[in-house]
């Protein structure tokens, strides 16, 4: 515990005892709560340093998904505009989900490898890196809702009460991404090429997810590919309220909740099981 400088000597002091080993699964969570200021500082650092030396500053967060969307919309609009109403909203909302997912998972890995030097010197709950990566992703996602709103207004896509479901969709998305980020971090500590492999996997994964095309263009024999893809459900529950104006079907919500909880539990378990090992690794 970080005691203030003026801490009187008589105050109850904490005793660290290596023989008392609480379950890492729970202990890591307790320590993470204690270090919540660090999570906030790391998120602030990531947001600030990303824009410090750039002319447009935070505007990049607005322009980046917008530019990607414009390019893709320009290419695919003619292909899909007859089957998909408000195609730019359809595309942009899913791109925001994907951008959050891909940056959070890769950032979690990078952060832990970056933090490696620190882990040799001071005690830190190791999960702060993955959690702050998700925090940075959430801030960027929030900012990106502005261009989404602008595109909705411009294309005349209606704003319906179903958008109130979006915070829940974002929560499930964050849980899934954090869980996978932790799982990948566990591997990345041991093997440097995990990150490179993952980048390739991400590209394939993105095209297997109905982000820029409607799900029903896949032939019936390929529909199972969607069914086993967690990101299909997570994109759907976020996109449906803004694009279709209604919440996604209950089955999609249940599937999304299951993969989100499963990913977080497995990721947290695998990561904390190895927590003592990281300081031994370079």
């Amino acid at each position: 515990m970080g005691a203030a400088a003026a801490k009187p000597i008589e105050s109850p002091v904490e005793i660290y005892d290596s023989a008392k080993r609480p379950s890492p699964f729970i202990d890591e969570f307790v320590q993470l709560l204690r270090y919540r200021s660090l999570v906030a500082e790391l998120v602030a650092r990531d947001i600030k340093t990303r824009y410090k030396r750039s002319v447009l500053g935070v505007a990049w967060t607005l322009l980046n998904p917008l530019a990607t969307m414009l390019v893709m919309a320009f290419v695919f609009q003619t292909l899909f505009q007859r089957t998909v109403e408000h195609y730019s909203v359809y595309l942009l909302s899913a791109l925001l989900v994907w951008q959050f997912f891909s940056t959070t998972t890769t950032h979690a890995m990078n952060q832990l490898v970056w933090g490696g030097a620190l882990l040799h010197r001071i005690y830190l709950p190791k999960s702060v890196f993955a959690v702050s990566a998700a925090g940075t992703g959430l801030v960027n996602l929030l900012i990106s809702l502005i261009p989404l709103g602008v595109v909705m207004a411009l294309t005349g896509a209606p704003l319906r009460p179903a958008v109130l479901l979006m915070p829940l969709a974002v929560l499930l998305l964050a849980m899934f991404s954090l869980g996978l980020g932790l799982l990948l971090s566990t591997l990345a500590v041991y093997f440097v090429d995990v990150l490179n492999m993952y980048v390739i996997v991400l590209t394939m994964w993105m095209y297997l997810t109905p982000i820029l095309y409607p799900a029903d263009i896949l032939p019936a024999s390929f529909q199972w590919v969607l069914k086993v893809n967690p990101m299909y459900y997570l994109v759907e529950i976020f996109r449906s309220p803004v694009h279709a104006g209604v919440g996604a079907p209950l089955a999609a919500w249940v599937a999304a909740a299951l993969v989100a909880a499963g990913s977080l539990i497995v990721g947290w378990w695998a990561f904390t099981k190895q927590a003592d090992e990281y300081a031994y690794r370079v």
């Binding site: 515990m1 970080g2 005691a3 203030a4 400088a5 003026a6 801490k7 000597i9 002091v13 904490e14 005793i15 660290y16 005892d17 290596s18 023989a19 008392k20 204690r34 270090y35 200021s37 660090l38 906030a40 500082e41 790391l42 602030a44 650092r45 600030k48 340093t49 410090k52 030396r53 030097a117 620190l118 882990l119 040799h120 010197r121 001071i122 005690y123 830190l124 591997l187 041991y190 093997f191 440097v192 090429d193 995990v194 492999m197 003592d276 300081a279 031994y280």
Partner: protein, 250 residues
């Protein structure tokens, strides 16, 4: 908290051993690992950095740790600082540990001095509110008020060390771990940091100093611990142990 054996000291190590396990050939990638695994299995080297080290320190005691490179001195500090969990044995520490292992680790070059102070404080486990209370003192001690809003990349390495030291040492530690830190910075900074060390000692902090300077050990420590290949070679009054060490090195 009740402990089976009474613990009224500040630091107690009981039969501490630390074992590093490394693959015999360094395997960096998953691809390599898979290939090796299929071919003939991965072999591991085991290396004991510490072997059966026991030690007890009370409040206000100071200990100098000496020994050749690779003797396990820094590993011992890491065990006390909670960075490494010992492979065997039990370590107990009462109160907060100031991890003065190295200054400026975790600083970001693009952030200003002010932003780095808050980031570094959070890395050391302080909350935002605690750091706000400490901020003025830290800036004053570092003597960097006029550069505090400039990005860290514009600082000299001496300035970075000064800022790092100011953040790390603005605590009232119960246990102070020093790893060759008195060797950084210019003469005036060295004097200033030595003064702060003595201040900590006067407040009753327990000090563990790792150094190659026998003079520092004799000046600052009551007792000395001589480590050799992870094992305790001698533990006793500082002048005697350092003399024996110097004698053996000849």
């Amino acid at each position: 908290m009740n402990t089976p054996t009474a613990f009224d000291g500040v630091v107690r190590l009981e039969g501490i051993s630390v074992r590093y396990t490394r693959p015999t050939e360094r395997i960096e990638t998953l691809k390599e690992y898979a290939i090796r695994r299929l071919k003939r299995g991965v072999r591991f080297d085991q290396f004991w950095a510490l072997r059966g080290v026991s030690l007890e320190l009370g409040q206000g005691e100071s200990l100098g740790v000496i020994g050749p490179n690779g003797a396990g001195k820094t590993t011992m500090l890491k065990v006390i600082a909670r960075v490494l969990r010992p492979t065997e044995g039990r370590v107990r520490v009462r109160g907060n540990v100031a991890p003065l292992l190295e200054f400026g680790a975790g600083f970001h070059p693009e952030l200003t001095g002010r932003e780095n102070i808050f980031l570094n404080g959070a890395l050391l486990g302080f909350t935002r509110r605690e750091m706000e209370a400490k901020y003025g003192r830290i800036v004053a001690f570092s003597e960097m008020a006029e550069f505090i809003d400039a990005p860290l990349r514009t600082y000299s390495s001496g300035m970075v060390a000064r800022l790092g030291f100011a953040v790390a040492s603005d605590v009232t530690p119960d246990v102070l771990l020093l790893d060759e830190v008195l060797a950084v910075g210019d003469e005036s900074f060295r004097r200033k940091s030595a003064a702060r060390m003595n201040e900590f000692k006067a407040q009753g902090a327990t000090l563990i100093l790792v150094t190659h300077s026998m003079q520092n050990v004799v000046d600052m420590c009551q007792r000395a611990l001589w480590l050799d290949r992870g094992q305790v070679r001698a533990l006793g009054p500082a002048p005697e142990v350092t003399a024996a060490y110097v004698q053996a090195a000849k």
